[in-house]
């Protein structure tokens, strides 16, 4: 039976801005790059593209780093997800929310953190020399990727476990089923799906890793993403870069389709609400492994943040010192960078806020479209996953080659940075809203329609006010994504528009590496402050 078949075209009107955005900011620029690459006999070179040893090496690196990072993140994140999803304890909600922090930190901050922990002068080798290599080479890349993504895997696992009502497990146990049977029949399958979704996303993000291979390892570890950037920006071979981008697009479409399929599967399970899971009791020996693992897991996350913060106000030897901060804000540094640290911070704030507002607006419209049930209305939601497939470098490459020469030139760079950050944040903001919307019963929306509200107005009146916490979370995602975004911004940026993550990359390049820990510390502080502010806001909204 068709639902709401009578309202055929009108509900689709709010989706027009979403479709326009995806078309103009994502599809057309990417299509322009592909078209340019295939023109003039480029298509004939596509099959032989990986005959080039550097391209083949980049492909191998992408697959190796993506696969190994996914396995590592899964192994570390799955047990934490189980502990968080299956037990309740004071502060559980806050811990779950805190899992987003590593995912939202700028990559370069984590790189700095690992350098401080495992670099030649780091804390780790001082305690155990065998740890010395962990911050560099392939090990370093995997460590950085795992730091980002293990938290995400645990989050998707915990969320998936919560879709299996605890009452079902009680039913299995009271009917004589063993704990293993309850795992196999009730919470095991969804937790596996959740972990698999997180691992697939880890694979995608790691296979397209940019900052970590560039900084931690060098040319021997370049992924496809770095190779495309290198061809387009460093070697001046845009057609070759376009061809490689097209091949990457085609290669990654399978995992992206798999990821979207897994998300759809977990969404279908989200119809029921369940009681809170059983409490984690300190005196119960069966709870000790969970407590111990969670302590280690969050301890590791906090350790890196703590080290970065500590190093921002100490010397290499550990003595308190504000020399790094003074160097960071010194006029000489501003002259060499072409912009002051304060101005770069203001740029970061401006881009992140603008991207958050834009991404949130589009996410609200897209989530509504998928909710309305009108034929074709779910399409924009799927289009929003395109930034997972059209990587940051390809996105920036497309915007720079198609739109920048046509509109605004160099002075319009800020528009393209803002749009690229919004596009990259969109899949996550839209997904956050959509999941929250799926948990709301449709009755009030239908009631508002029957009382005379147009479908979109009914959504704004009856549903959006109840999504306060999800809107806050989506805003956090989008803001943090923008604030920490490095790859696309680095591709597009010109000095007046430099952001903090770009400055963090540039500091060692201009031999001011001593100021990098100070800036990394500032970025951690901003991330934590933003997290605290929005977390407080979410709580108030949820009340």
């Amino acid at each position: 039976m068709r639902r709401l078949g009578a309202a055929r075209l009108l509900p689709l009107l709010p989706l027009v801005p979403v479709l326009l955005f995806v078309l103009l900011v994502v599809l057309l620029p990417a299509g322009f790059v592909f078209g340019g690459a295939l023109a003039g006999g480029g298509a004939d070179r596509l099959p032989a593209l990986f005959g080039d040893p550097l391209n083949r090496r980049a492909l191998e690196n992408s697959l190796e780093q993506g696969g190994a990072s996914a396995l590592l993140a899964g192994a570390l994140g799955y047990p934490a997800g189980i502990a968080l999803g299956r037990f309740s304890f004071p502060g559980r909600r806050l811990l779950r929310a805190f899992l987003l922090v590593p995912f939202l930190l700028p990559t370069l901050v984590v790189v700095v953190g690992f350098e401080e922990l495992f670099g030649p002068a780091g804390f780790g080798p001082a305690l155990w020399p065998a740890l010395a290599g962990l911050g560099r080479g392939l090990d370093g890349i995997l460590a950085v990727n795992a730091y980002f993504c293990a938290a995400m895997v645990s989050l998707t696992t915990a969320a998936a476990i919560e879709t299996a009502p605890h009452e079902q497990e009680e039913a299995v146990r009271t009917l004589g089923g063993s704990p293993y049977r309850a795992f196999r029949e009730v919470w095991g399958p969804p937790s596996g799906l959740g972990a698999l979704a997180g691992m697939t996303l880890t694979f995608l993000l790691s296979a397209l890793g940019f900052a970590a291979p560039l900084v931690v390892c060098g040319p021997g570890c370049y992924t496809l993403e770095v190779r495309i950037w290198s061809l387009a920006e460093v070697l001046g071979q845009p057609q070759e870069a376009g061809l490689l981008a097209l091949a990457t697009f085609l290669l990654l479409s399978l995992p992206v389709v798999g990821y979207v399929y897994l998300l759809r599967g977990s969404r279908r399970r989200r119809a029921r609400r369940s009681r809170s899971p059983p409490p984690l009791r300190l005196r119960d020996p069966r709870a000790w492994p969970a407590i111990a693992y969670l302590s280690l897991f969050f301890g590791a996350i906090l350790l890196l943040l703590g080290v970065v913060l500590l190093r921002s106000v100490t010397t290499v030897s550990g003595a308190p010192s504000l020399a790094g901060l003074r160097l960071l804000f010194a006029p000489a540094t501003a002259r060499r960078l072409g912009i002051s640290t304060v101005a770069a911070g203001a740029n970061s704030l401006f881009f992140a806020s603008g991207a958050a507002i834009l991404a949130l607006l589009l996410a609200v419209l897209a989530a509504y479209g998928a909710r309305s049930g009108a034929r074709g209305a779910a399409l924009p939601e799927y289009l929003l996953f395109l930034p997972l497939l059209i990587s940051p470098v390809l996105l920036a490459f497309g915007l720079a080659t198609l739109w920048r020469p046509l509109l605004g030139g160099a002075s319009g760079t800020w528009v393209w940075i803002l749009l690229s950050q919004a596009a990259l944040a969109l899949p996550f903001a839209a997904q956050t809203l959509r999941l929250a919307l799926d948990r709301l019963p449709k009755g009030p929306w239908e009631a508002a329609c029957l009382l005379g509200s147009r479908p979109f107005a009914a959504h704004l009146d009856a549903e959006l006010p109840r999504l306060g916490s999800a809107v806050g979370a989506a805003a956090l995602f989008a803001f943090a994504f923008g604030f920490g975004e490095f790859t696309a911004t680095y591709f597009l940026v010109l000095p007046p528009f430099t952001t903090w993550p770009v400055e963090l990359f540039d500091l060692p390049e201009i031999r001011l590496g001593a100021a990098a820990p100070a800036l990394a510390g500032l970025l951690v502080l901003v991330s934590l402050a933003g997290f605290a502010a929005i977390e407080g806001g979410i709580r108030r909204l949820a009340r």
Binding site: R2, A6, A447, A448, L451
Partner: protein
């Protein structure tokens, strides 16, 4: 036809499906202005789907819905002017009772004075004044249903649809609420279709009753006519009649009109399965020898009959109903 009166609501040959599964099969009926129609049928008979088709929340695959002669089959819900109160009150949890009731008139851009006056009128009629500033979460189930009814009535809908609105309310409150609902609908002169599987509630609220079985209209008529002359065995069984066979022809007899006699006497042979006290009477469940089951209600003082005992069932001819007496829709 020129000069022919146009029904207030005309539903014609409506078919609806869940996937390939037919839910409504060529459903047709009329509703007069100001009439209260009870749509009665067992679970899964298509009652709620029919209501959702009328409200515009589902679209029938075939057939038409006309309101005052206008075909509204493809209209979206917000253009129909039809109200709906369902089993789940679906109140807006972030709005107070007052704001919930005012929502419809405000959406229709009534002026503030008219909105306030209408809300005050409904708050008064449903004894909700003291809850006006409360949020729905602070109300009981019965209070929430009263607010839902007030909210649906506030914009003066052309037609009100009630989808088992009292199903989740406890039995004592349900009797009060249905009397209250009926009075209010009468006072507001609102045309309404009320869906229920509770025959007592359907008969009480409806001027007319439409029986729906397996997506088809099985019978339509006044509550009394349906009670006295159910059209066929399905309707009779749903209304609580025992279906017995005499000379190969089915007859329907109410449980309180059946008598139990000794084995070997006249009547339909049966065997007692169990008997039990059900309040004002004793209920005796029996298996008929010719197949099927029956229930007999007798005085609570009547002697208990042990399970397994063979008996005969008899009744007075004038209390039995037969297929020949029942009108076809």
């Amino acid at each position: 036809m020129p000069g022919e009166a146009v029904p207030f609501l005309a539903v014609r040959a409506v078919d609806a499906f869940w996937g390939d599964l037919p839910v409504l099969r060529s459903v047709s009926f009329d509703l007069e202005e100001g009439e209260l129609l009870s749509l009665l049928g067992p679970n899964g008979s298509g009652k709620t789907t029919l209501l959702r088709c009328l409200a515009g929340l589902e679209t029938p695959r075939r057939g038409s819905v006309r309101l005052r002669g206008t075909d509204i089959t493809g209209w979206p819900p917000h253009r129909r002017g039809i109200g709906l109160v369902s089993q789940d009150p679906t109140l807006f949890p972030h709005r107070t009772v007052w704001e919930n009731i005012a929502y419809g008139p405000q959406v229709r851009r009534w002026d503030a004075e008219a909105v306030a006056s209408r809300v005050a009128e409904l708050l008064g009629q449903l004894s909700l004044e003291r809850f006006a500033e409360r949020y729905p979460g602070a109300l009981s189930g019965g209070e929430q249903q009263r607010v839902a009814l007030a909210r649906a009535l506030a914009p003066r809908p052309e037609l009100l649809l009630l989808d088992e609105p009292l199903a989740a309310v406890d039995p004592e409150l349900r009797a009060d609420l249905r009397a209250e609902f009926r009075e209010l609908l009468r006072a507001q002169r609102t045309s309404a279709i009320h869906v229920t599987h509770d025959r007592e509630e359907g008969f009480f609220l409806g001027d007319r009753v439409l029986m729906l079985f397996e997506g088809r209209v099985a019978q339509s008529g006044t509550p009394e006519a349906i009670w006295d002359r159910p059209a066929g065995r399905t309707v009779a069984a749903f209304l609580g009649y025992n279906i017995l066979f005499r000379d190969g022809r089915p007859v329907g007899v109410r449980p309180d009109r059946l008598r139990i006699g000794p084995e070997g006497g006249p009547g339909v042979p049966a065997r007692v399965i169990r008997s039990g006290f059900v309040g004002e009477a004793r209920s005796i469940q029996l298996r008929l020898e010719e197949g099927g089951r029956a229930e007999v209600r007798c005085a609570r003082e009547a002697p208990s009959i042990p399970p397994g005992r063979a008996v005969r069932l008899t009744w007075d001819e004038e209390v039995a109903i037969g297929p020949s007496a029942a009108p076809r829709p």
